[in-house]
C-alpha cells in the first residue's frame, strides 16, 4: 500500500489517502512536546529520533507551529527555520506539518495580512501540510493562510474546532465544513480539531459519519488529546466511521495531555481490521527506543499534577494549555483553588462567553478570566483580550453573544455605545516590512536574512534576543537535554562531548569553580584539552548596592539626562566644574585617567551642575557617579 512521501504532488497525496484501504498516521511530536513538556523537547531529541521516524512511514510529522515557533527562540534557543532544515536533511521522505492559528499565525493576536502572507510563504518552503484553525471557527480569519499555502503548492488542512454542548451539533459542523469547502475547494484534508480531547468515542464517530455522509470524498484527519485517557477510543471510532488520518505520537514520551501512543492505536485498530498504511511497526518501536533515555531530562517540564484528567469534559481546557495552566497555578500559589476554577468557574465562564472553542488564544481568555473571577471577583478586572473578545475583534460569536450584564460590568454603563463604535474585526493595516527590515538590521548590526525577518515579525524582541544569544553562544541545539537543561550544575571532572553545528567533535571537562573576593565567579573548563576560564560578574542581590556595572548604552543614556557616569574604570585626575556652575553642552566636566591615558569627560547637556560625586584622585569603577547636571 502506498506510503506518502514528501516529493508527491498534493493531488497524488490526496488520491493515495482517499483510495487507501486503511488509515494514515500523523506523528504529532510538536503537540506532544507542547502538551506534556511545555514545548521544551529539543531539536537534539527530534534529530535523534529522525532516522527511525523517517522509516516509520507517517503521513506527516507535525514538528512546528502552535506555540513552538515562539518557544524555539525563547526557550530552546533554536532557529525555527534551521530546525526544519536540519530535520528535512535527516528525514527527506516525511512530510512536515504545522499548526497555524490563522490570522494569529503562531502567536496570540491578529497579524497584518502582508505579514501573514510573508510568514506562510517562508515557512511553506519547509512545511508540506498546513493545519489551520481559528478559535471562533471564523473562516475569513484563515483565508490568507489558505491562499498562500495553495500558492506554494502545499496541502491545506483547514480545521473545524470541536467542542461539546447543546450548540455543538452535527448540523452546525457539517455546515461549517461546507463553508470551508466553499473557500478552499475540495483538494484539502479536513481536520477535526479536538484540542481538548472532548466528547466520547461515540460522539466523535457520529460527527465523522455525519460529515462523511454529507461529503463522501472528503479526507478527514482526526486530531485529539488524551487528557481523559480515552483518545484511543475516539480515534478508533473516527477511523471506523471513515477518518483517513489520525494523530498520535511516540510512546516513550507520551504523557497525560498530549497525543496517545501510536503503537496502541495501531494494535487496537489492527484487531478491528483496519491497517495503518505505510507504517513500519518496528520503526515505530525503534523511534521510542532511541529517545527513551532522554525523557528523564525533561522531567522538570512535565505536569505538576500526574494522571489523566477526565474532568476535562467539564473544564474543556485544551491539552496544549494544561501544563502551563497548572504551572501558573503552582507559581501563583492558587493550586488549591484549581478544583473551583476548573470545575465550577471555568465551565460557567465558557457558557457566559458564548460557548466558543477553548483553544488558543480563546482558551487563554477563558482561563485568565476564570482565574481572575475567582481571585478578584467576577469580571471585576477584565483583561484587554477579554474586552477585545467581547467587542468581536477576534470574530463574531458563533452561537450567541454574552449577556448584557457582562458587557456592562466590563465596559460600564456606556457599553452599548462602545460596542457600536468599536465593535467588530479591525482592519489591520499592512506593516511596512521594509521598514521592519531596516529596524532589524540596525538592531542586529547586519543585514537580516528573510527567515530572520519572518522570525522577527512574529516576536520582535524575543527574536532579537535569540539572534544575540546565537551570536554569543553559537548554535546550541547541538547540546543534548542532559546538558542544555541540566539542573544543579555539573560534576567536577565530568566529561561533556558533543558535535558542533559544522560536525566537529568536541570534548569538555568540567574543572573547579572559584569565587573571588570581589564576588566574581570563575568557571574553569577544559575545552578540547585547552584550559579556559569563564568569568561571571557577581549577581545583583536585591536591596544591596548594585555591584553590577552599567552597560555602555545605559551610561550614554544617563548622560543625555545629565547624570554623568564614569565611562570606564580609572582615577579622577581633574575636575573642571563646581557645584552651581552653569555649563554648556560639550563642555568638559572632568578628566579621568586609566593606565596613563587621560580622557576628558564631556557633558552631553547644557545646564547647572547640581552635584559632584567624585573628587580628584578617586579610583572609580565603570558606571560610578561623577556629576549630576540639571538640564536647562
Amino acid at each position: 500500500m502506498t506510503r506518502i512521501t514528501q516529493d508527491m504532488e498534493t493531488a497524488a497525496v490526496l488520491k493515495a489517502v482517499r483510495e487507501a484501504d486503511g488509515y494514515y498516521i500523523t506523528n504529532t511530536a510538536r503537540d506532544m512536546s507542547q502538551s506534556d513538556y511545555k514545548n521544551r523537547i529539543l531539536l537534539h531529541t527530534d534529530l535523534m529520533a529522525a532516522k527511525a521516524r523517517e522509516a516509520a512511514g507517517y503521513f506527516s510529522l507535525e514538528i512546528t507551529g502552535g506555540a513552538s515557533v515562539h518557544v524555539d527562540i525563547l526557550r530552546k534557543q533554536v532557529d525555527p527555520f534551521l530546525k526544519l532544515e536540519l530535520l528535512r536533511e535527516a528525514m527527506p521522505n516525511t512530510m512536515f506539518q504545522t499548526l497555524c492559528r490563522g490570522v494569529n499565525l503562531f502567536g496570540y493576536r491578529p497579524y497584518p495580512q502582508n505579514v501573514i502572507r510573508f510568514t506562510v510563504k517562508e515557512f511553506a518552503k519547509y512545511v508540506d501540510v498546513w493545519r489551520t484553525f481559528d478559535f471562533m471557527n471564523h473562516i475569513p480569519n484563515m483565508q490568507a493562510v489558505f491562499e498562500e499555502v495553495a500558492k506554494a503548492g502545499k496541502i491545506n488542512e483547514p480545521c473545524i474546532c470541536f467542542s461539546t454542548g447543546p450548540e455543538h451539533t452535527n448540523e452546525y459542523y457539517v455546515k461549517k465544513v461546507q463553508d470551508i469547502l466553499d473557500v478552499t475547494g475540495e483538494e484539502i484534508t479536513l481536520c477535526i480539531k479536538n484540542h481538548g480531547g472532548l466528547g466520547t468515542p461515540r460522539r466523535i464517530g457520529e460527527l465523522v459519519d455525519a460529515i462523511k455522509q454529507a461529503y463522501p470524498d472528503i479526507i478527514i484527519h482526526y486530531h485529539g488529546h488524551n487528557t481523559d485517557g480515552n483518545d484511543v477510543g475516539r480515534i478508533v471510532e473516527a477511523v471506523i466511521n471513515g477518518a483517513k488520518i489520525v494523530d498520535a505520537s511516540d510512546h516513550a514520551f507520551t504523557g497525560f495531555y498530549g497525543p496517545p501512543p501510536i503503537l496502541t492505536v495501531i494494535q487496537t485498530l489492527k484487531d478491528l481490521g483496519k491497517t495503518a498504511v505505510g507504517i513500519d511497526e518496528e520503526a515505530v518501536i525503534a523511534s521510542s527506543d532511541v529517545i527513551r533515555d532522554e525523557r528523564q531530562h525533561y522531567a522538570q517540564f512535565e505536569s505538576q499534577i500526574k494522571g489523566f484528567q477526565p474532568t476535562v469534559q467539564i473544564h474543556k481546557l485544551p491539552g496544549g494549555a494544561m501544563g502551563s495552566s497548572l504551572e501558573q497555578a503552582v507559581k501563583g500559589g492558587f493550586l488549591d483553588k484549581m478544583p473551583d476554577i476548573l470545575h465550577k468557574e471555568l465551565p460557567k465562564v465558557q457558557k457566559e462567553l458564548g460557548n466558543y472553542w477553548s483553544v488558543t488564544p480563546g482558551s487563554q481568555i477563558l482561563w485568565t478570566t476564570a482565574v481572575s473571577n475567582v481571585q478578584n471577583g467576577r469580571y471585576e478586572s477584565p483583561s484587554g483580550d477579554l474586552k477585545n473578545l467581547l467587542l468581536g475583534k477576534y470574530g463574531p460569536f458563533p452561537f450567541y453573544q454574552p449577556a448584557d450584564w457582562i458587557y456592562e460590568k466590563v465596559f460600564g454603563e456606556n457599553w452599548k455605545t462602545i460596542l457600536e463604535e468599536e465593535g467588530g474585526i479591525d482592519d489591520i493595516e499592512d506593516m511596512d516590512i521594509e521598514q521592519e527590515r531596516e529596524t532589524l538590521a540596525e538592531r542586529l548590526g547586519s543585514e537580516p536574512t528573510e527567515q530572520q525577518l519572518v522570525t522577527y515579525l512574529q516576536h520582535p524582541n524575543d527574536a532579537v534576543n535569540f539572534f544575540k544569544f546565537e551570536e554569543k553562544f553559537g548554535k546550541s541545539y547541538v547540546l543534548p537535554p542532559s546538558i542544555f537543561l541540566r539542573q544543579g550544575g555539573f560534576d567536577l571532572g565530568e566529561s561533556i562531548s558533543f558535535r558542533d553545528h559544522s560536525g566537529k567533535e568536541h570534548m569538555l571537562e568540567v574543572g573547579p569553580v572559584q569565587k573571588n573576593d570581589d564576588g566574581e565567579t570563575n568557571v574553569y573548563l577544559n575545552v578540547d584539552h585547552h584550559e579556559r576560564v569563564y568569568v561571571f560578574e557577581p549577581e545583583l542581590v536585591e536591596g544591596t548596592q548594585a555591584v553590577v556595572s552599567l552597560s555602555k548604552e545605559e551610561i550614554e543614556e544617563l548622560a543625555t539626562a545629565g547624570d554623568i557616569r564614569a565611562p570606564f574604570g580609572g582615577n579622577v585626575s581633574a575636575i573642571n566644574v563646581k557645584e552651581g556652575q552653569e555649563i554648556a553642552e560639550g563642555e568638559q566636566v572632568m578628566v579621568l585617567e586609566a593606565m596613563k591615558m587621560q580622557t576628558p569627560v564631556i557633558s552631553e547637556v547644557a545646564g547647572v551642575v547640581k552635584s559632584i560625586s567624585a573628587k580628584v584622585g578617586d579610583a572609580l569603577k565603570l558606571g560610578d557617579k561623577l556629576v549630576k547636571i540639571e538640564v536647562s
Binding site: I483, I496, R532
Partner: protein, 480 residues
C-alpha cells in the same frame, strides 16, 4: 660582597634588566610603589625597596630613588625606559651621589633632549635633516621665500610658528595657492597666540617609514651600530610592531643609514646605548628625527638578529669596560619581530583593561621565541601603569618563517581575564601587505578591517561559555 645594581623601573623592563644583572653575577635591587606590590619584578630581584604609595610619583622621585640606591649599597642604577630614563637631572643626581648612571652622560641627555639643540648639532655634523627654512622674512619677501622653498622641495609643506610648540601653530599647505592663502593668516595667528609673528617652513615627508638604528658606544668613543629597525606600524605615534632589520631597505641603504647614525652619535659624544631615529622617504632619502638616549622597548629585536645582549653590554660599559667587539664583529642574521601584547581592547579604541585579573596565562615557547613579560596567573593588572603585559619577540631565518612563527606563537598564548591585543595582531598577520613586508607609517590608516576580528569566535568556545554559565547558575536560564 656582590656588586649591587638598582633597577629604577618596573614591569617587564625591570625584569629584563634584573636578568642581565644576575647573569653578570651581581645583585639586582628592585624598587616599587604600592600598586606594584604583586609585580613579578620585585619577586625576581634579589632585594626590593618600597618607595611609597605612588602611583607614578615615587618611581619619578629622584631623591627617593637615589636614597634607595645609597641605602642598599648599589653602585649603579639602570633606569630602563620611561620614568627617569631620559631625565638629565636624574643622571646628574646619580653622578653627584657617586652612583653610576647606566646610560649616556647627563650632558648628552640634556642636549639631545632639547630638539632645537639636537637639530643644530646634527645639522652641523652634516646629518640629513628634513628640509626647512630659518624664520621667513617679513611681508611679501617672506612669501616669495616660501614659494621658492615649495618649488624646490615640493608640497605638502608645514607652516610653523617659531614660538609655537606641542602641535600648536602648525598649518599644513598642499600647494602654492594654499600657501599664499595661509601665509598671512598664519602670521596673524602666531602674533595673536604667541606675540611673535615669525614663521618658518618645513617639508612634510608623506607616509614615511620609521627607521631607527641601534647604536652603542664606549667611553673611548668607539661606536658601533647594531643594524636598523623598522617601527613604521604605529597607532597614534605608538609603535605596535617592531622589526629588525628594516629589510625593505637595500643593503646599501641600510649600511648608509647605519653609518649616518654612528656619525650622529659621535657628533653628540654619545656614550652607552642609544637609538637614532629617522624618517625614511619613498625616494630613499632619509631625515634625522631624534636620538633616544635610553634603552628602548624594542631593543630585543636587535639582540635577536645580532646575538648581542644590549643590556649586559650597557652595564659593562657603564662600569668602565670597553666594547669587546668591533663593527666587523656585528653580523646581522635573519629577521626578528616584536609584538607588544597589551592588556587593551583594540575594539574599544585600545582602551586599557587595567584592574582586571589574569585568570589563565599560558605562553608559547620553542625555537626562535623570546618573551619579556611580567604577567602570571592571578596577577591583577594595576590601573595606574601602562598596559604592556608581555613582549613577544620571534626570530626567523626568512621573513615568511618569522611571520609563520609569530602566528603560531600568538595562537599558543592563552590569556584570559583582560582583553589583549593578541586577536588584533593575529588579524594584522593576515594582511597580504604585512606578509609581503610592505608597510609605512600609514599602515593602520590604509588597511581597513584590522578590527574585524571575533574574539572567542570558535563555535566550541561559544558553547563552552554557555555550558560554563549553566554550571555556574545551576540551570540554563535561557531555557527556563
Amino acid at each position: 660582597m656582590k656588586t649591587k645594581i638598582l633597577v629604577a623601573n618596573r614591569g617587564e623592563i625591570a625584569i629584563r634588566i634584573i636578568r642581565a644583572i644576575q647573569e653578570l653575577n651581581y645583585e639586582a635591587i628592585a624598587i616599587y610603589e604600592t600598586p606594584d606590590n604583586d609585580s613579578k619584578h620585585i619577586r625576581i630581584a634579589d632585594e626590593a625597596i618600597w618607595l611609597g604609595h605612588g602611583p607614578r610619583c615615587d618611581y619619578l622621585n629622584i631623591d627617593k630613588v637615589i636614597n634607595a640606591a645609597l641605602k642598599s649599597g648599589a653602585v649603579a642604577i639602570h633606569p630602563g625606559y620611561g620614568f627617569l630614563a631620559e631625565n638629565a637631572d636624574f643622571a646628574r643626581a646619580c653622578e653627584e651621589a657617586g652612583i653610576i648612571f647606566i646610560g649616556p652622560s647627563s650632558d648628552a641627555i640634556d642636549k639631545l633632549g632639547n630638539k632645537v639643540m639636537a637639530r643644530t648639532i646634527m645639522a652641523d655634523a652634516g646629518i640629513p635633516m628634513v628640509p626647512g627654512t630659518q624664520n621667513l622674512k617679513a611681508g611679501e619677501e617672506g612669501l616669495e621665500e616660501a614659494r621658492e622653498f615649495g618649488k624646490k622641495y615640493g608640497y605638502p609643506i608645514m607652516l610653523k610658528a617659531t614660538s609655537g610648540g606641542g602641535g600648536r601653530g602648525i598649518r599644513r599647505v598642499e600647494n602654492e595657492k594654499e600657501l599664499e592663502e595661509q601665509y598671512g593668516i598664519a602670521r596673524t595667528e602666531a602674533q595673536a597666540a604667541f606675540n611673535d609673528d615669525s614663521v618658518y617652513l618645513e617639508k612634510v615627508v608623506v607616509n614615511p617609514k620609521h627607521i631607527e638604528v641601534q647604536i652603542i658606544a664606549d667611553k673611548t668613543g668607539h661606536t658601533v651600530h647594531l643594524g636598523t629597525r623598522d617601527c613604521s606600524i604605529q597607532r597614534r605615534n605608538q609603535k605596535l610592531v617592531e622589526i629588525a632589520p628594516a629589510f625593505q631597505l637595500t643593503p646599501e641603504q641600510q649600511e648608509d643609514i647605519s653609518q649616518t647614525a654612528v656619525q650622529a652619535a659621535k657628533a653628540a659624544n654619545y656614550f652607552n646605548a642609544g637609538t637614532v631615529e629617522f624618517l625614511f622617504d619613498k625616494d630613499g632619502s632619509y631625515y634625522f628625527m631624534e636620538i633616544n638616549t635610553r634603552l628602548q622597548v624594542e631593543h630585543t629585536v636587535s639582540e635577536m638578529i645580532t646575538g648581542i645582549d644590549i643590556v649586559r653590554t650597557q652595564i659593562k660599559l657603564a662600569l668602565g669596560k670597553e666594547l669587546l667587539f668591533s663593527q666587523d664583529d656585528v653580523l646581522l642574521r635573519g629577521h626578528a619581530v616584536e609584538l607588544r601584547i597589551n592588556a587593551e581592547d583594540p575594539k574599544n579604541n585600545f582602551m586599557p583593561e587595567g584592574g582586571k585579573t589574569v585568570r589563565v596565562y599560558r605562553s608559547p615557547g620553542g625555537y626562535g621565541v623570546r618573551l619579556d613579560g611580567f604577567c602570571y596567573q592571578g596577577f591583577t593588572i594595576p590601573q595606574v601603569y601602562d598596559s604592556l603585559l608581555v613582549k613577544l619577540t620571534v626570530f626567523g631565518w626568512s621573513w615568511s618563517e618569522t611571520v609563520d612563527r609569530l602566528r603560531r606563537c600568538l595562537n599558543n598564548f592563552v590569556i584570559t581575564g583582560p582583553k589583549t591585543t593578541i586577536p588584533f595582531f593575529l588579524r594584522l598577520l593576515q594582511e597580504p601587505d604585512f606578509q609581503e613586508g610592505n608597510f609605512d607609517t600609514s599602515f593602520l590608516d590604509t588597511h581597513d578591517g584590522l578590527l574585524d576580528y571575533e574574539e572567542d569566535s570558535s563555535e566550541v568556545n561559544k558553547l563552552a561559555r554557555l555550558i560554563a554559565e549553566i554550571h555556574q547558575k545551576g540551570e540554563n536560564t535561557y531555557a527556563a
